[in-house]
């Protein structure tokens, strides 16, 4: 059974169809990269999976449970899914440590000592142990994004959704965040990531999905989708990317 299965997803914003008959299946321990032009619906798809947006048709199943059923408690679903945003979205009034322990303490009702020990261990592992007591505005963009990933991991999620986590970063800071995602993959984390980094998608993804106008136009192993795309739309998109020097 796949960990995540989206079938016939539809999402409109005021009559404008953003996701249209979209299907996506993600097996456990699999990494799926979503690529596609700006506005193709990558972020919207991730937000729908995390129930931050209400879908207009179709179903989303997580671990075999239909989470798009309105009777499902969305808070309970989100505890099993970690989400990382393009703009980090750290809480500016909380220290790094408090950002990370907020959900374990309030949602999972862990004790402060236990939650902090776990947070410090996670921070140490990504080389940010010294920043535990700093506030987000004192960190570089790359450090903030790594803290945001740690914050999502502290919930021990089954699935991670990463929305263009490197596109707000200066080129020299991208590497440290990508290294962290590489480690997550090595640990067997299931991930769906929207990205503009084709090189990284090729390296880390088991499957690449090309989105266009709210549909998955082409999907498959990275060598195939990025190397020998069969669909004209995909070729066109990749050609533009190459011209922009991003492949």
């Amino acid at each position: 059974m796949p960990l995540l299965r989206c079938r016939g997803l539809r999402k409109e914003f005021g009559g404008h169809v953003v996701l249209d008959q979209l299907d996506l299946t993600v097996a456990e321990h699999q990494v799926v990269a979503l690529i596609g032009a700006s506005g193709s619906g990558k972020s919207t798809l991730l937000r729908c999976v995390n129930l931050l947006e209400e879908i207009d048709d179709g179903t989303i199943e997580l671990d075999g449970e239909d989470i798009s059923d309105p009777r499902v408690d969305p808070d309970r679903v989100r505890r099993r899914i970690g989400m990382v945003f393009q703009a980090y979205n750290l809480f500016p009034h909380l220290s790094v440590l408090d950002n990370i322990t907020l959900a374990p303490r309030r949602v999972h009702r862990r004790g402060r000592a236990e939650a902090e020990a776990q947070a410090r261990e996670l921070l140490d592992r990504v080389g940010l142990g010294a920043k535990a007591d700093a506030y987000p505005d004192r960190l570089s963009g790359g450090q903030q994004q790594r803290v945001a990933i740690v914050r999502a991991l502290a919930n021990s999620p089954r699935l991670m959704l990463l929305d263009e986590v490197t596109s707000a970063l200066d080129p020299e800071l991208v590497g440290e965040v990508l290294a962290m995602i590489r480690d997550l993959k090595a640990d067997g984390m299931t991930m769906v990531l929207a990205t503009h980094e084709m090189g990284f998608a090729r390296e880390v993804a088991d499957e690449v999905c090309f989105l266009d106008a709210g549909r998955v136009v082409e999907s498959g192993p990275p060598e195939q989708v990025l190397g020998e795309p069969t669909q004209p739309r995909t070729r066109q998109f990749l050609r533009r990317i190459i011209e922009a020097g991003r492949l």
Binding site: L52, D75, M83, F91, L102, D137
Partner: protein, 281 residues
């Protein structure tokens, strides 16, 4: 640390010396201009034709000394009322502001009531609310009616709660929706998101205007004297009526300013800190 054994260069030493000289120079200029302006003011006021009469009826030291105890005991009432009403109004304002953010059809009546409250009490003059509560409510002759002072305090809390609710609401709305998305994505419930993510940021942002309203409240608490209780201004008025001398008002005024100084200083400090945070973030 290299900071400790760093020897400043010749240029840096010259720059520091120049800055020191500039500082001394500025202090001297400031002192001179203040002294000049002060002298001018004193000459203008004391040289005015009516100065002697004004001094007798507004600045009589003996009358000031006699009026002080009564005015002080009135001021004590102001202080107690201020503390209670400020806490009450802040809590009420916060609750109303949060109620107005609740979504969903179940909460429609709550939202409507909260909105109706802020519209009503921001529009209604404080004096009318005071009269209604301190004169109208006791007229009902209900059992266990609280004293007039408490009723007056309730009038102040109701009126200022309306203003403060709007300030809190502005703060809540200024927290970007991406913060809510981040909190919800961690599995926090709406209440937890409000409590741990939105409100702390909102309150920090609107702390300066909130404190500003508390300073305004400090001047308005005296209005309860319209219903009988004797506050500092009313005490000064009584003393004035006895002596036909206005000095007690000056005494009350000075005491009010002294009381406001710490509050205003805190407001300025909080504002400055908020501004620094904004630019530093």
């Amino acid at each position: 640390m290299t900071l400790l054994d760093h020897v400043p260069s010749e240029t840096q030493l010259r720059r520091s010396a120049y800055r020191r000289r500039q500082t001394v120079h500025s202090v001297l200029v400031a002192a001179f201009s203040t002294a000049a302006l002060g002298t001018l003011l004193v000459i203008a006021v004391t040289g005015a034709p009516g100065w002697d009469r004004v001094r007798l009826s507004f600045l009589d030291p003996q009358i000031a000394r006699d009026a002080l105890p009564a005015v002080l005991s009135g001021l004590w009432l102001n202080i107690r009322l201020l503390v209670c009403c400020a806490i009450g109004a802040l809590l009420l304002g916060l609750v109303i502001a949060v109620l107005r953010t609740l979504r969903g059809p179940v909460f429609f009546p709550v939202r409507a009531l909260a909105a109706g409250y802020t519209y009503t009490f921001r529009g209604l003059p404080l004096i009318i609310v005071l009269y209604l509560l301190t004169l109208g409510v006791p007229g009902l002759r209900l059992q266990g009616m609280p004293p007039v002072l408490v009723l007056g305090g309730i009038a102040l809390v109701l009126t200022y709660g309306g203003y403060l609710a709007e300030v809190f609401r502005a703060g809540i709305e200024s927290v970007h929706s991406s913060q809510l998305a981040a909190a919800r994505s961690l599995g926090l419930t709406y209440r937890q998101t409000m409590r741990h993510v939105v409100l702390p940021q909102a309150v920090r942002r609107v702390a300066p205007p909130l404190l500003n309203d508390v300073v305004a409240l400090q001047k308005d608490v005296g209005l309860v004297s319209l219903a009988g209780p004797i506050d500092a201004v009313r005490a000064a008025q009584i003393a004035t009526a006895q002596t036909f001398n206005y000095t007690p008002y000056i005494v009350a005024g000075v005491l009010f300013v002294l009381l406001a100084i710490p509050l205003i200083a805190v407001t300025d400090w909080v504002t400055l800190r908020a501004a620094r945070r904004q630019s530093g973030g």
